[in-house]
Symmetry: C2
Subunit: 325 residues, 2 copies
């Protein structure tokens, strides 16, 4: 049975609906139902199914793993939003805003344990490998969030630091999801490793694209405010590259915009974007992105399964990598 | 090999020292090393070894389980202290005070995942049962914390509500630790269940003793301020029983003390203690405690292993239950 992406999505929603999180104390479980109900693309759980389809199909186990990964992802959103003091998530109030920070802390904790409880329902004899991937991924995501917070305060962030931070914060969970799907399909260690690295590279490209679109995206298509990273002086690949490579004059201007207190935001976005553009930072960013996507496609080629089995995964990668067009 | 409690303690400290939590980002891992370094009785990990000694000895696996339980317990302390706005833990600054709440949230999260990572090192074929006990215990501890926070705001808390709250918040982790030790010793399901219920009852007695000592303890021996629960109007077994059973006149006085804004704390403690005493709440509390301890000893008797094997566990229970003398 070849299950389509649409079927995966329906299956994931069904499994989420079946979670036994409608119990007492209501104050603890309501935020779990809330965060799961306000949308989200369910990218990570889909990746589990899509990766699994390359190997031996194991829908039942994948469904538990998919739940675990989606619960984990949402747990990180609840806690990250407290740390980032974010008012909105997916266009809705964040959990700590709708309730309070204590509820967000404790509901998040519960959500993480509920995620682990799903993994324990997996029947595969390779359960320990699943736990290993899940644990090391979870720890790396926490490390990534910590680096991200550190870099807000830190002035000497290098491009390499930044790339490692987004690898931890974003890529490893995509990579880990793919690897879990592969292991559940009884993939060889080598194929598991390849699909992991495919996911890592895809994730890097994805995040770099996000940074690029934050500056150069179509306001109508891009979900967030254009220039948000510029306004908040976020040390993205673009800003760090500009600080590294811009002309001396532009560097001075860029540093002035960064240091400016209460600048006109529209003016700042326009000026910084112009600095990026005339120093080729947009092209540099696209080239870096392409580097990661190329590496991803190469790794996909190397996975030793018949080519036709890879089409869904390739389509998925195409979708992500062609967001720009 | 019969390993003594002292040896367990040394083994636990050694295993804690061997944890690979001395890595980057330092801001994430320092709080883990800190909270583990400021003491703690390591009761829960000891219970794993002591329970295991009733059955087939499995020191290696028990050490990982012991680490997992101690890490989990410390994770709850870090997050509970944020929620309770507590300045001190074990006589030292709490993590959110020493660093900040964000660090406490994220380090706590990391500690929880590191706990799970220890479980995955267990070699026993009954690993899934271990995870089941660990997961359901962890979820119940979160539920207990939520009920505890709810009850601070809630006026209609019953004695049954309170007992269920302390069962979740305190007892199940003692019970779960014992059961994990038993499973790792390949105990029968029945013995595992018995030792769990033994732990639950022991934990209930332990917490009721704590509440009692908060009022009637020897200030020189009790680690905390005498009367702390009275000052904060904490809805303990004593307060709830007094509200239920005190004479009409005393009930009025008690409610006045609860409602008093900025009372003289020493006066309040003295007056409320007097209300408890003349309404027999102290004796009622001791009787309830004894009920749980008796149930615990009965369950210990019922565990089907030779009596001499139970001596360490009995000694442990004696130590806890005789704190009052």
């Amino acid at each position: 049975m070849q299950v389509s992406a649409l079927t995966y999505e329906k299956l994931i929603e069904q499994k989420i609906a079946e979670l036994s999180i409608d119990k007492a104390p209501a104050q603890l479980y309501e935020p779990l139902r809330y965060i799961l109900s306000i949308g989200g693309k369910r990218l990570r759980p889909q990746l589990i199914f899509i990766a699994n389809a390359l190997f031996e199909e194991n829908i039942e186990d994948c469904a538990y793993a998919a739940l675990a990964v989606e619960l984990f992802h949402n747990f990180t959103l609840i806690h990250d939003d407290i740390m980032d003091n974010a008012p909105l998530r997916r266009g809705h109030q964040t959990v700590h805003e709708k309730w309070n920070p204590n509820t967000a802390i404790l509901s998040g904790d519960t959500m993480l344990v509920v995620a682990f409880a799903q993994i324990n329902k997996i029947q595969s004899t390779r359960i320990r490998e699943i736990y290993d991937v899940f644990n090391s991924t979870a720890i790396e995501v926490c490390e990534g969030q910590q680096f991200d917070m550190n870099y807000e305060q830190q002035n000497d962030v290098s491009i390499a630091d930044y790339l490692e931070m987004i690898r931890l914060k974003t890529s490893v969970l995509l990579a880990g999801s793919l690897k879990i799907g592969a292991i559940l399909g009884n993939a060889s260690t080598e194929n598991g490793e390849k699909i992991y690295r495919f996911g890592e590279n895809l994730g890097m490209g994805f995040q770099l694209m996000d940074d690029y679109l934050d500056v150069y995206g179509d306001p109508l298509k891009f979900g967030k405010q254009i220039g948000g990273d510029i306004i908040s002086n976020k040390k993205t690949f673009l800003l760090l590259s500009a600080l590294d490579k811009a002309s001396a004059k532009d560097k001075v201007e860029l540093l002035q915009w960064i240091a400016a207190e209460n600048p006109d935001n529209a003016e700042k976005v326009q000026a910084v974007t112009a600095i990026y553009s005339r120093n080729g930072i947009d092209q540099l960013s696209l080239a870096k992105m392409q580097e990661y996507y190329s590496a991803a496609y190469l790794l996909l080629d190397e996975i030793q399964v018949p080519a036709h089995k890879k089409s869904d995964l390739k389509n998925f990668a195409d979708l992500l990598s062609k967001r720009i067009q």
